[in-house]
């Protein structure tokens, strides 16, 4: 079941919600037609539910291609961790939760 804590990120709110955020923001770049994006969706939901210290958002690359382009994203699911306005960690492709958390430095 989708988490209610996941924020929808758009071209319009990207600056405010992600780049200007005081807290680290995890952004899941996804698309409806991307099977592996659906595969990792429950993991993203679980992280959103469990981590109080993070804002977790999803950005539909089909609806908002400009943001994906800005970060040179050419493979999804692309999960990026933003801190103080910068993309500091990333992971591309579907993988088990421990591997995803390792790639994003969330296991520390």
């Amino acid at each position: 079941m989708a988490s209610t804590k996941v924020v929808e990120i758009t071209t319009d709110n990207f600056q405010g919600t992600v780049l200007d955020s005081e807290h680290p923001v995890l952004v899941d770049f996804w698309a409806e037609w991307c099977g592996p994006c659906h595969m990792i969706a429950p993991i993203i939901d679980a992280i959103a539910d469990e981590r109080e210290d993070l804002i977790v958002g999803k950005l539909d690359v089909d609806a908002h291609p400009a943001i994906a382009q800005r970060y040179g994203i050419t493979g999804i699911p692309f999960v990026g961790l933003f801190r103080d306005g910068n993309l500091v960690k990333k992971s591309v492709g579907a993988m088990p939760r421990p591997a995803l958390e390792r790639a994003l430095g969330l296991d520390e």
């Binding site: 037609w33 099977g35 659906h38 040179g72 493979g75 088990p96 421990p98």
Partner: protein, 323 residues
């Protein structure tokens, strides 16, 4: 405190596992399924599935798997969105772990499927997510009007090439032999497409590019000459390896890692298997689903038989003939 012993644990959630779940749930076995991070299996990486019976106009792979999953849940399958990290098949009830969390079951259905194989090149690994991909439906989108390469010669290579031909400027299929092993209908479609070209007898030596894919260097296995095909992306579709690392040393596997099965029975009594993890011949959604059904029915009968023998010998006969 030891965990409650389940009747059936299903590991894996592709067509095989989810069909086993539907049957096991309807037989009141209250199955527990570990769907893993790759829920839905390989169909999640496809677009249109044209050969699944019951869908005359085709159906999208992820949509089909969502329907399978909904059906399994409807009858009470408990689904855990985690990967199993360890199993113990040496004694019953069998042990299944997700990290430190322990689960026990009288019977297990293994349906962990198979994962896409990679070429194994360093440049392939470093450029993955930057133009190197195994999922055309996921990443083709990013290479509109650009040239692309597909590596492989089977049905999935043809399917990816045809899909990418709708997006890119040109798609070159690089295949190491001079004939495809894909089905005739798929080969005909690929060869008839103006945007699809074939580089026969070609082996990928290196993915060329700094930070993103710029080309694919191919060596001709006949002439030995090399050329670099300009490409913004390379999609790898060279087959699959069975996901059996979890069971190595505990279950009989063949030299390629497939679970050795007699019907759905494995070398360990009470452990059943279904789908691509034991199938080196057919590898279809419908055969996986069919084998999932077989595994669930076999597990159900095996459980009934075992319990009947322990409690009431007389019930055995009627249980074995019923459904």
């Amino acid at each position: 405190m030891p965990p409650k012993t389940r009747k059936v644990i299903i590991i894996g959630s592709g067509p095989a596992g989810l069909t086993a779940a539907v049957y096991a749930a309807r037989a009141n076995l209250e199955p527990l399924m570990f769907e893993g991070y790759g829920w839905g299996g390989q169909l999640m990486l496809t677009t249109e599935v044209e050969n699944y019976p019951g869908f005359p106009m085709g159906v999208m792979g992820p949509e089909l798997m969502q329907a399978f999953r909904d059906q399994a849940e409807r009858f009470g399958t408990e689904i855990v969105p985690a990967d199993v990290t360890r199993v113990d098949l040496s004694s019953r009830p069998f042990g299944v772990w997700v990290d430190d969390e322990e689960y026990r079951a009288e019977a297990i259905v293994i349906s962990t499927g198979a994962s896409a194989r990679w070429l194994g090149l360093e440049s392939e690994t470093s450029l993955r997510g930057h133009g190197v991909s195994s999922c055309a439906t996921c990443d083709g989108f990013f290479f509109r009007d650009k040239p692309m390469v597909v590596v492989g010669g089977g049905d999935s290579a043809m399917e990816e090439a045809l899909y990418l031909a709708r997006i890119g400027s040109k798609v070159t299929i690089v295949h190491r032999r001079d004939a495809f092993r894909a089905s005739k209908i798929m080969v005909d479609r690929a060869l008839a497409n103006d945007r699809v070209h074939v580089r026969w007898n070609g082996v990928v030596e290196e993915v060329v590019g700094d930070g993103r894919v710029e080309g694919v260097r191919v060596r001709d296995v006949v002439t030995g000459e090399t050329e670099t095909i300009p490409a913004a992306a390379m999609f790898v579709a060279i087959g699959h390896t069975p996901n059996t690392e979890l069971f190595r040393g505990q279950l009989e596997l063949d030299p390629d890692g497939y679970v050795v099965a007699d019907g759905s029975r494995t070398s360990v009594e009470g452990v059943f298997v279904a789908g691509d993890v034991q199938d080196r011949l057919y590898k279809q959604a419908i055969t996986a689903a069919g084998s999932g059904c077989i595994a669930a029915i076999d597990a159900e009968r095996w459980l009934e038989l075992g319990q009947a023998l322990e409690t009431d010998q007389a019930r055995t006969a009627s249980a074995a003939t019923g459904n």
